[in-house]
Every structure is written in structure tokens, then in C-alpha cells.
Amino acid sequence: MDNMDLFPLMLSFQVAFIASIIGLIIGLPIAWLLGKSKGRWVEVVDSLLTLPMILPPTVLGYYLLVLLGRNSVIGQFFESLGLPLIFTIRGVIIAATVVSIPYFIKTARTAIEGVSKDLLDVARVLGRNEVEIFFHVILPNAWRGITAGIVLMFARALGDFGTTLMVAGSIPGVTMTMPIAIYNAMLAGEQGKANTLVLIMTITAFIVLIAINLLNRKVWSDQR
């Protein structure tokens, strides 16, 4: 324990935190639009957004490598700015965001759709526009579900292994996150280190589940 490198732990939490904020900013408007729209295209978009949940992490990582790598337009653009994406912390954050955002969008969309249509109609008749309705009617009535989505997203971002490894490698002190550190510790026979990290991950996951359950239970008791 004494000489244990805490960098992977710090990096993982940092990355999960940033990925969650990015996911919230991008995902909430998407969840809102999906929740209020009708038609076939909505389900197509929803399926596309769900794809990262279904695809093997390595496949997802491969796509990201192709999209963001040194030979791609995007990769070259960021490279020219002096901010290469792959094999850097930026790559880790992008990988974590992509794998975790579907969990948030799905949960948030369900929560937003759960707000009674009549409440939205009443607000419209009472003179409020759609943005006001989002902040004054949807958010106050769907925040628990949205928060549960954030917690899920954070947990997923914290635990990503495959995609992160593909996009950012496992450079100690740079891109080596906790799940990768656990893998490396195990390979190197450092049982003690692996055990500690595994315990931290397990406790985190458990806390996340308790938080989600509490949020869900509150949702039900509110409606009674």
C-alpha cells in the first residue's frame, strides 16, 4: 500500500467526472429532443445512440481510432493545434464519454417522457415557450431520473477498459486508468495492488447502485 501509485485512481475519477459533465451537456438536449419528438427517425437516432452499449468495446475503440487517429481529418486538425487526441488524456476522456453517454440519454429520455403531456400542454396554454417549459416543468419533475442517468453514466465512464485501451493505450502516469491498472497489476503478479483497486471499484459500483435505488424509490413515493 505504501508505495502504491494512486495515479490510475485519480485519473479514472477525473476522467469519469469530465466525461459526465460533457455527457450531461450533450446528452440532455438530445434526450429532450428524442423525448418530445415523434416519428420513425427518432427511433433510428435512438438506435444509433444506443449502439455503443451493444458493440464490443474494442470495436468502438477501433472506430474511434479511425475517426480520431493521425490519418483522419479530425485527428490531423487537433494534431496541428498541438493537441493530439489518441494516446493522451483527451483520448481517455473521449472514450469514456462515448461509452457512457448512451446510459445517460436512455435514462434521461425515459424520465423526460414520464412527465405528463397534460402538464406540458397546460404550460403552453398558460403562455410559456418550450425552453421555459423545459426548465420550469420538465426538469423539476424529471430531475430524479436525470440524476440517476448521471450516476449511471459516471459509473460506466469510471469502469471503461476496452475502448480506453484501444484509443489511449496504457501509458503509466498518462493514460493508465484504474481498470487498466488492475489488469496490469494482475499480469505482473502484484496481487495486493490488484486486490485494493478491485475493492475500490466494487465499493464505488455498490454506492452507485444504492444511489440509483434511492432515487428511484423517491420517484415512486412522490407519485403516491
Binding site: D118, V125, L126, P140
Partner: protein, 376 residues
């Protein structure tokens, strides 16, 4: 004045209607579930856009597809009362009421809210949340929230159907009082004839997206223009036949299904094939030994097939003592166990002899003016 002419394609039928009501009128849209009443209301409120036509309220045009005008709901200043109240669960009573007043200064909002709360007898409930209120109180808050915005048109979508009958009649009374205080126009959707009749000056009977009949409430109930409307408004007894003679104030109707003629009002249309309807409460019932009454017009002998005793009277199903020639329509063929349905009020003294029993013989008399006629 409200003038509307709208068409809209819907999955199961096309909405296609037009009507015009004066300022201050109360219009009831009455019809079975899924006939397009609520959709009409949503079109008027601007929550749905019709495909074609126009909607004018007073001087304002809210919708006109030729001029490409569609005023969104938030700019129409129309009041809308929902069946399930639709109060904001996260806001207190007071905040619910001021929700539609965001353009006014805070002081003004408080003043207006207080005045409407007083009017609706909700003082003391300002800081409660909707789930802490009874159904009737919730609906009063919803009403207050709508009225506080001074809408020029108030739309009510089955506003009392979720309430028990006592609270319901109390609220109805309040709505009528409010209506008298506020000169705006009201349009109410209902699937209950009684409710529509009590609250409305005009009624539009709807089916499958169309208005079958539009008129004053008494016209609708006592002069239905066709069989469907007659059935909707509770004209249980319908006879088909042809007019064989016309006089100054009455006509003779030869029935198709029974070998008799009835004396009915002279219809104001030329068709000879007609239907005559009479409401169960308009048929007089008397005992076999009441000789003098037998001399009146349209008196027939009948047997009681079934009696249902109700709090304020009896509902009787009768079979006429004359042979049945032919089934009136395919739909009534199946239920030819009785020919007539009669509603009798309870007499003031609880005299048991006035209760008609199953199997008993009796006489019925149908007054000429009690018939409604329409061409078949």
C-alpha cells in the same frame, strides 16, 4: 363571437366541423368517447393544428390555412381546464396559480392570486402542494389557475368526470356562478347529456368527427334531427312509419311494425317516411280500471315485462298487447323482448299500490306534442 371551420385527418376518421357561437355563450360538445370532441378543443387551444379551415375568436384569427396563420397556444390567451386537473406537482397552490402570470410584476401576481383564491374559497391553501388536496379542491385550483389569466375563451375537457357526484354538482354550481361573473365564452366537452344540459346554452352532438346537430339544449333533447342524435340524447322509444294524413296541428302516422296509427305533430318537412321518438318520461302510465283516460289519443294496452325500481321512480319495460308485424330495424330485432321503455316518477306518498309489478297489465298514453319527428 367564435367562428370555426376545421378539418383534420385522424387515424380512424376525419374531423370535419364548423360552428359559430356568440360571445358569452356556453357550448357543449357532446358525444361518445373518441368522437373528436377533445381533439376539437385542442385545435381551438392551439395544441393541435388543423389541416384546413379557420378559427376566429372575436377580432382575432388564430388559425387560417389560406393565410398561413397559426397562432401557437402560448399566444392565444385561452383557458383550458383538463379532466385530470394537470396541476404542477412540484409547485404550491399559489405558484400553480401564478404560473401563467410571469409577465406581471411579483406584487401584482400576488394580488391577483389572492383575489382569485378568495373567490374560489381556497384561502389558507396557498402553500399546500397538489397531492395534499382533495379532488374537488384540485379542480378548483386548476380553475383558479385558468381564470386568473382572464381568458377570452374557456375550454373545459370533461372537467368533472373524475369527481364523485356530490363534489361534482357543487363544482358545477360554482362553474355556473363563475360563468355569470365572467362574461367570456365557454366550450365544454362532455359525454354526459345531463352535465352538458345543465351547463350549456348550446349543444353540438358529435359523432366520428362531425357535428350531427347543433342547437339550443332543448332543441337537441326534444327535437333530435335523426336517429343517432335521438339515441344519444336518450329518446328510448322510436317508431318508424309513414305519414298517411296531415292536419293543421297533427298528422297520422301508420307504423311499420305494428298494425296501428299514432297521432303525432304535423312534421315541418315533406317526407312521408318518418320516425317518431318519445322519451321514457313523457309516456303516461295508468291502471286498467282508469276508464276515462282510455279515451285519449295514442292510448294502448300493454304488459309490464320488467321493472327496475330507482330512487326517484321506476323504469319499466313494456310489451304492447298488439301483434308485432315486423322488426323495425336489424339492430332492434335482437332486443324485441319489450316494445317501450317508460319512466315513472315516485308519487309523493309512498303508496305501495303505485308500484307496477312484472306481469301486470296497464295502459299507456303518448301525448301528441311529446313526439319528436325526423325523416327516416
Amino acid at each position: 363571437m367564435i367562428k370555426a371551420q376545421i378539418t383534420k385527418k385522424l387515424p380512424s376518421f376525419d374531423l370535419e366541423l364548423q360552428f359559430e357561437i356568440p360571445q358569452g355563450a356556453v357550448l357543449g360538445l357532446f358525444g361518445p368517447s373518441g368522437c373528436g370532441k377533445s381533439i376539437t378543443l385542442r385545435c381551438l387551444a392551439g395544441l393541435l393544428e388543423p389541416d384546413q379551415g379557420f378559427i376566429k375568436v372575436g377580432e382575432q384569427t388564430f388559425f387560417d390555412n389560406k393565410q398561413k396563420i397559426f397562432v401557437p397556444a402560448r399566444k392565444r390567451k385561452i383557458g383550458f381546464l383538463f379532466q385530470n386537473y394537470a396541476l404542477f406537482p412540484h409547485l404550491t397552490v399559489e405558484k400553480n396559480i401564478t404560473f401563467g402570470l410571469k409577465d406581471l410584476p411579483k406584487e401584482e401576481q400576488k394580488k391577483k392570486a389572492h383575489s382569485i383564491l378568495t373567490k374560489m374559497r381556497l384561502v389558507g391553501f396557498e402553500n399546500r402542494y397538489p397531492f395534499q388536496l382533495s379532488g374537488g379542491q384540485q379542480q378548483r385550483v386548476a380553475l383558479a389557475r385558468t381564470l386568473v389569466t382572464d381568458p377570452s375563451l374557456l375550454l373545459l375537457d370533461e372537467p368533472f368526470s373524475a369527481l364523485d357526484s356530490q363534489v361534482k354538482s357543487k363544482l358545477e354550481k360554482e362553474v355556473i356562478e363563475l360563468k355569470n361573473a365572467y362574461s367570456g365564452t365557454m366550450i365544454l366537452v362532455s359525454h354526459s347529456l345531463e352535465e352538458a344540459y345543465r351547463l350549456c346554452s348550446h349543444i353540438a352532438v358529435m359523432e366520428n368527427g362531425r357535428i350531427l346537430q347543433f342547437g339550443s339544449r332543448d332543441e337537441i333533447v326534444h327535437q333530435p334531427v335523426n336517429r343517432t342524435v335521438a339515441r344519444f340524447v336518450g329518446t328510448k322509444n322510436i317508431f318508424d312509419g309513414s305519414i298517411i294524413a296531415r292536419n293543421q296541428d297533427y298528422a297520422t302516422l301508420r307504423l311499420r311494425s305494428y298494425p296501428i296509427d299514432l297521432k303525432v305533430p304535423n312534421p315541418n318537412f315533406d317526407n312521408t317516411k318518418v320516425s317518431a321518438g318519445i322519451r321514457p318520461s313523457k309516456i303516461r302510465l295508468f291502471n286498467a280500471n282508469d276508464g276515462e283516460l282510455k279515451q285519449r289519443e295514442n292510448t294502448l294496452q300493454a304488459k309490464i315485462v320488467q321493472n327496475i325500481i330507482e330512487p326517484d321512480g321506476q323504469k319499466l319495460f313494456l310489451k304492447l298487447d298488439i301483434p308485432f308485424v315486423e322488426a323495425p330495424t336489424a339492430s332492434t330485432q335482437a332486443i324485441q323482448e319489450y316494445d317501450l321503455q317508460v319512466q315513472v316518477a315516485k308519487s309523493e306518498n309512498l303508496d305501495d299500490s303505485k308500484i307496477y309489478h312484472q306481469g301486470e297489465s296497464c295502459y299507456i298514453q303518448m301525448p301528441v306534442q311529446a313526439f319528436a319527428l325526423w325523416p327516416t
